[in-house]
Subunit: 498 residues, 2 copies
C-alpha cells in the first residue's frame, strides 16, 4: 500500500517541479507543451491513487487490528489518510471530474477578462456553472448529518472543517475586528507607506540572509523570482520558494519571503526529513491548508511584524541595504504595521485582512447552499464591505471579481487563510508561555528556539492529528478567537494610541 | 498510434526537464528523491513505448499501403521510426534490462573510484560484466548478415551505422590525421594558451550575445551554468543549454556555448517548431547522434574557430570583455587553434581529437567481438596512443579510465563524435559552395544565411532520412574523409607554416 502511495507521490512531485519551473525558469514558448505534460502527469497520478488495488490493500490493512490498534501510530494514521484520499478521489464520477476541469479552465479565462473589464455579467454564467458542478461534487462526496454541502468541499482543503465550526469562531471575531479596524482607521488617517529605493540585488541578499537566519535550509531548498510568490518543490529535501521585489518597498519582499519561508520550514521539518522511508506517505504531509498557513503567517506576522524582530533586523540593513540604514526601529515597525481599510484582500493589512475572508466565507457558503443566487453576488458583496469595512466598493473588479479562487472551483478555500491566522496566534501565544524569553531571543536574532518548538509540536507530527485536534494537543485548548484578538489589540492599540 | 507515441514523449520530456533541473538548479539534498522520480518516469515511458497496443497499431498502419506509399512522407517515416523504436525496446527481456541498469549503475561508481585511484584492476571485473551483458543485448537485437555485434549496439545511437562502414571512413583518415598532427606538434613546440582574466558575469554577457547572434532563440530556450556543459530541455520550444566558465580562458566558455547552441539551433529548427502537431513524433526528432554532433561541431569549429568569425567577434570584446580587448584577431585565431597532442580526449584540439576517437572505436569493437579481453585493454590502449599520437600514456587515469562511457554501457557511442566532425565538414563545404560569400557573411557577423541553409537541408528534415542518406541528399556524395582533411589542412598548414 505504501509503495503504491509513494508512486502517486512521485508523479505529483514531478508535476510540482514542472509547475515550479513554469513559474520561474521556463522560456515563454514552452507553455503549451508544459500544460500537456502536467495534464498527463495529473492523469497518471490520479490513476495511481484510485487504482482498485489500493482499495483492496486498504481493506486488508483496515482488517488487521494489530496494525491500527493505536490510532496515532504511523501505520494507523497512514491507513486512515490513504483511505480518506482514496474515497474522495474515487467518489467523483469521471465525467464530472472532466466537466469540472473543462469548465474551470474556461471559467478562469473568462474571469480574467471579466475582471479586466470589471464586467460581472460576463463572468456570471461561468460562475453559475462552476457552482452547479461543485454542488454536484459535494453531493458525491457527502457531508455530515449536522452539516451542509459547503463542508464536503472544504474537506478537500481542510479535513474535518465544517461551516458551522468556522462560523462558531468567525461570528464572535467579526464585530470585534470590525470595531478595531474602524478605530484604527479613524486615527491612522493619512499615514503613508515608507518609500526607500533599494535595488533588487540588495533586496535579494537581505531576504536570503533573513530566510537562512530564521531557518530556511538552503541545502534543501532554493529561493527564486516569480510573478506571484509561492512555496513549491517536491518534498522536504527540495523546497522551492519564490518572491518578487518592488524597488521602493523593501518590506513587502522581505515579509513575503518570511511568509514563504514559514511554509518551507514546515515542509523541511516534516517527519520525512528524519526518516526517508516516510517520504511520500501521509506522515510526511501537512495537516491541512490552515495549519500550513499558520506557519507562514506566524513567521510573517507574529515574528516579521514585531518590534522585537526589527530591533534585530534594522541594524542588518546598514550593510545589506544601505539606503534603508537611516530608518529607525520604530519607523520601520510602524511602516510594516500600517493599517488602511481597502478593497483588495491580497494588499490588506493584518488588522483588516480577516474581514475580507469573512465576506468570502459567508458568500460562498450561501452560494453552495443555494441561499444566494450568483446574480445577487455583487450586491451581497458590496453590502458586506460597507458593513464590515466601511467601504463603498467602486466596481466589481475591486469587488467580487478580485480573486481567482471561485473561477477555479476552489470553494471552501478562503477560510483557511483566517484559520491560519487564528492558529498562528494561538500557537505563538503558547510558544511564548513555554519560552518566556521568546521576545528577547528574537531581539537577538535567535530563532532556533521558536523553530525547534514549532518543529516538535507541529512539523514533526505530520498528519497524525486533524487541525482541530492538533490545536487542542499543542495549546491545551480548542481554537479560539481570543489569541488573535489579543495579538492584534496588543499591537495596534498602543501603536495608534487607542 | 501517434497519440500513444506522444504520451511516451511527454513522459520522456518530463524526465528530461527533471534531469536538467538536477544539473542546474536542484539543492544538493534533493538527489535521492530525484533519482526515484527519474526511475519511475523511465519505467512509465518504457511501458508506454512497449505497450502491445503499439505493436497492434503499427501492424494496422503498416498494412495500409496508401499510408506508407511514399516512404519519405510524414506518415511513412513515422511508422518506420516507431517500428524501429518499438522493436528495439521490446527485444530485450525485462530481466536483462534490469540487470543492465543495476550493473551499469554500480559500474559507474566503481569507474569513478578506479579513475580517482588510477586503478584499472578495480574497474576490470565491472567492465567485464558490462561487456558480457552488452554482448547479450547485441544478440537480442541482432545484426545484419555482413555485420557484427558492435553494429547492434551502435544502432541505438546511430541508426544504420555499422563497424565496417565506420572503418571504411576511419581507415584512410587515420594515417593522414596522425601525420598532420605529428607535423604540427614538431613545429608548435612550446606554444602556450592565452591567459586573459575575464570575470564570469562578463563572460556570460559575451556568450549570451554570441549565442543569440548565431541563432539560439531565447524565447524558446535558456542558458544556465552546470559542471559539464550540455544541451537538454523538453522539445524545440524549450531548449536548455548550459556552460561553465574558466576565469582565465574566455575562449573555452565561448566555444562550448557555440557548441551547445549548435545542438540547440538544431532542436529549435526541427519540424515541430513549425507544426505543433508533430511534437513528440519521429519527424520532430534528430536523425542520429552523429548528425546532432555535426551541428554542434559546425558552429564550434567551422565557424567558431575560423578567422572570419574572429574578424567579427574580436571587436565585440571591447565592450563585452574589456580585459580581452587588446588581443589582435590573429592572436585570438591562433589561440583557439592551438594544437598539442595530449592524453585527454575532452581537452583535445581539432587536429588530434579524432585520433582519440579512433582508438576507442577500434578497442570497443574488439571488446564486443571478443577479439580483445578486458584484461588486455590498458596495453592495447597505450600501444595505440603511442602509434597514433606519439604519446606514452603515464597511467590508466589518463589512459583507458578517462571516459565514463563504457561504465554506462555506452558502447557504439564514441564514433558518433568523429562522424559528427566528418558530417560537419562535408555540410559546411557544401554550404560554402552554395553561398560563395559565406565567409564574408561571417566576417560581418551575419549568420542567418548559414542557419537558414542548415535548417532547410538538415533541421527541417526531422528523421526523414538516415544519416548516410541525408549526407548523400544534402551534399550529393556519400560521407568521405576528404572534406574534413581539406578543412584541417587548409587551416593548420598555413597557420603553422607547413
Amino acid at each position: 500500500l505504501i509503495r503504491r502511495t509513494r508512486e502517486a507521490h512521485l508523479l505529483e512531485s514531478s508535476a510540482s517541479l514542472l509547475s515550479w519551473d513554469q513559474e520561474t525558469m521556463m522560456p515563454p514558448r514552452g507553455v503549451e507543451h508544459r500544460s500537456r505534460q502536467l495534464a498527463l502527469l495529473a492523469r497518471l497520478a490520479h490513476q495511481a491513487a484510485t487504482d482498485p488495488v489500493i482499495g483492496e490493500l486498504l481493506a486488508v490493512c483496515e482488517s488487521d487490528r494489530e496494525l491500527t490498534a493505536d490510532p496515532l501510530s504511523i501505520p494507523a494514521v497512514s491507513v486512515r489518510e490513504i483511505r480518506r484520499h482514496y474515497d474522495r478521489a474515487t467518489r467523483l464520477p469521471a465525467a464530472l471530474v472532466e466537466e469540472l476541469a473543462q469548465v474551470t479552465s474556461l471559467a478562469r479565462q473568462e474571469w480574467a477578462e471579466a475582471r479586466q473589464a470589471s464586467d460581472f455579467a460576463r463572468f456570471r454564467p461561468w460562475l453559475e456553472r462552476v457552482v452547479t458542478l461543485k454542488r454536484r461534487a459535494a453531493e458525491c462526496y457527502g457531508w455530515g448529518a449536522q452539516g451542509e454541502p459547503w463542508d464536503a468541499l472544504a474537506e478537500g482543503f481542510e479535513p474535518g472543517c465544517t461551516a458551522r465550526g468556522v462560523a462558531e469562531v468567525f461570528t464572535p471575531l467579526r464585530p470585534r475586528l470590525a470595531e478595531l479596524a474602524a478605530r484604527i482607521a479613524a486615527k491612522a488617517g493619512a499615514d503613508r507607506p515608507l518609500t526607500v529605493i533599494v535595488p533588487p540585488e540588495q533586496q535579494m541578499a537581505l531576504v536570503r540572509f533573513v530566510a537562512e537566519r530564521i531557518g530556511f535550509d538552503f541545502t534543501r531548498g532554493r529561493l527564486d523570482l516569480s510573478t506571484h510568490p509561492f512555496c513549491g518543490g517536491t518534498h522536504g529535501h527540495d523546497v522551492r520558494i519564490t518572491t518578487r521585489f518592488h524597488e521602493s518597498n523593501i518590506f513587502d519582499g522581505l515579509l513575503s519571503v518570511m511568509h514563504e519561508s514559514g511554509h518551507a520550514i514546515y515542509e523541511q521539518g516534516l517527519p520525512g526529513s528524519e526518516d526517508e522511508e516516510l517520504i511520500g506517505t501521509p506522515m510526511d504531509a501537512a495537516v491541512s491548508l490552515a495549519i500550513h498557513e499558520s506557519q507562514s503567517r506566524l513567521w510573517e506576522n507574529q515574528v516579521g511584524r514585531s518590534r522585537a524582530f526589527w530591533t534585530w533586523c534594522q541594524p542588518q540593513l546598514r550593510s545589506l541595504a544601505p539606503a534603508a540604514a537611516g530608518l529607525g526601529v520604530e519607523q520601520v515597525y510602524r511602516a510594516v504595521n500600517l493599517v488602511k481599510p481597502d478593497f483588495i484582500r491580497v494588499e490588506a493589512d493584518e488588522a483588516t485582512y480577516n474581514l475580507h475572508i469573512m465576506v468570502r466565507f459567508e458568500l460562498e457558503r450561501a452560494l453552495v447552499s443555494g441561499d444566494l443566487a450568483v446574480a445577487d453576488l455583487p450586491g451581497a458583496w458590496n453590502a458586506r464591505y460597507k458593513e464590515y469595512l466601511g467601504l463603498t466598493v467602486p466596481d466589481d473588479a475591486r469587488g467580487c471579481l478580485q480573486d481567482i479562487h471561485w473561477s477555479l472551483g476552489s470553494i471552501g478555500y478562503f477560510p483557511t487563510y483566517t484559520l491560519g491566522n487564528l492558529y498562528a496566534a494561538q500557537f505563538f501565544e503558547k510558544a511564548r508561555s513555554d519560552m518566556p524569553d521568546l521576545d528577547a531571543q528574537i531581539e537577538e536574532g535567535q530563532f532556533g528556539g521558536l523553530r525547534a518548538w514549532l518543529r516538535r509540536h507541529v512539523h514533526a507530527q505530520g498528519k497524525r492529528y486533524r487541525a482541530a485536534e492538533l490545536c487542542q494537543v499543542v495549546t491545551g485548548r480548542a481554537l479560539s478567537p481570543e489569541p488573535l484578538l489579543r495579538h492584534l489589540e496588543g499591537k495596534f492599540l498602543p501603536l495608534y494610541d487607542l
